[in-house]
């Protein structure tokens, strides 16, 4: 399990490949990799968004993120996982979050990656403030439930 909080832009595909190269000993057991990449959209609630600032709580953010992953590990047989979350100033199309889960079987990989994403969005201290095209700033007030539309 690896968790990274980063203030710099990152390429999720390069991160996954670099991470996989470090653990080639486990390759033969891996049958399924489920990856979720969350990206900044240029619209939200009907407005054009030109930038975003992501605040977090250093220490608590990492701690709660680790708890989310441990909860997933307790429910599904996960071989490994990588979670990276961006903080600071973000532009549209930038990657905000990467969740990658490696498992022997696809059902477990799908279930665990989705669980981690939903847990992250409901429990891990990150707060988004949007900069609109109008130059107004606006805090995002709540996350949607990813099991319904939205």
């Amino acid at each position: 399990m690896t968790i990274k909080i980063t203030a710099g832009a990152f390429n999720p595909y390069q991160e996954i490949q670099a991470y996989q190269q470090e653990k080639t000993d486990k390759c033969g057991a891996i049958g399924a990799t489920s990856i979720f990449i969350g990206t900044m959209r240029d619209f939200n609630d009907g407005d054009t968004v030109k930038g975003m600032t992501l605040e977090y709580y250093p220490g608590m953010t990492e701690k709660q993120l680790e708890l989310c992953i441990i909860e997933a590990q307790q429910q599904w047989p996960i071989i490994d996982s990588l979670v990276i979350h961006r903080v600071g100033d973000i532009l549209p199309a930038d990657t905000i979050v990467l969740v990658a889960v490696w498992s022997s079987h696809r059902g477990d990989a799908f279930d665990a990656s989705r669980y981690i994403m939903e847990a992250l969005k409901s429990k891990v201290p990150f707060w988004k403030k949007e900069l609109l095209a109008t130059e107004n700033e606006r805090w995002v007030t709540h996350n949607t439930n990813g099991y319904q539309a939205g």
Partner: protein, 77 residues
């Protein structure tokens, strides 16, 4: 006893500060910490609380040296 209080995101902006240092005597709860730090306003209903980086209920007891945090619903991911 001394308690550090931290505020985040929109709550921090609304209060106009990111932290308080308080001293107390006797048995106090997380909610008491809020009231002592923000005499003029009640705790907004959707605000979450943590003690030492774990989520807690508002009636949790606070101990000397604890770091109490208040923040709005999280919106990461």
């Amino acid at each position: 006893m001394s308690i550090k209080v931290r505020y985040f995101a929109s709550l921090k902006e609304r209060l106009g500060r990111s932290e308080d240092d308080l001293t107390f005597t006797g048995l106090i709860t997380v909610h008491d910490v809020w009231n002592q730090s923000n005499l003029d306003q009640p705790l907004p209903p959707n605000i979450l609380a943590a003690v030492n980086m774990d989520y807690v209920a508002l009636d949790s007891i606070v101990l000397d040296g604890d770091i109490v945090a208040f923040f709005p619903p999280v919106t990461g991911g």
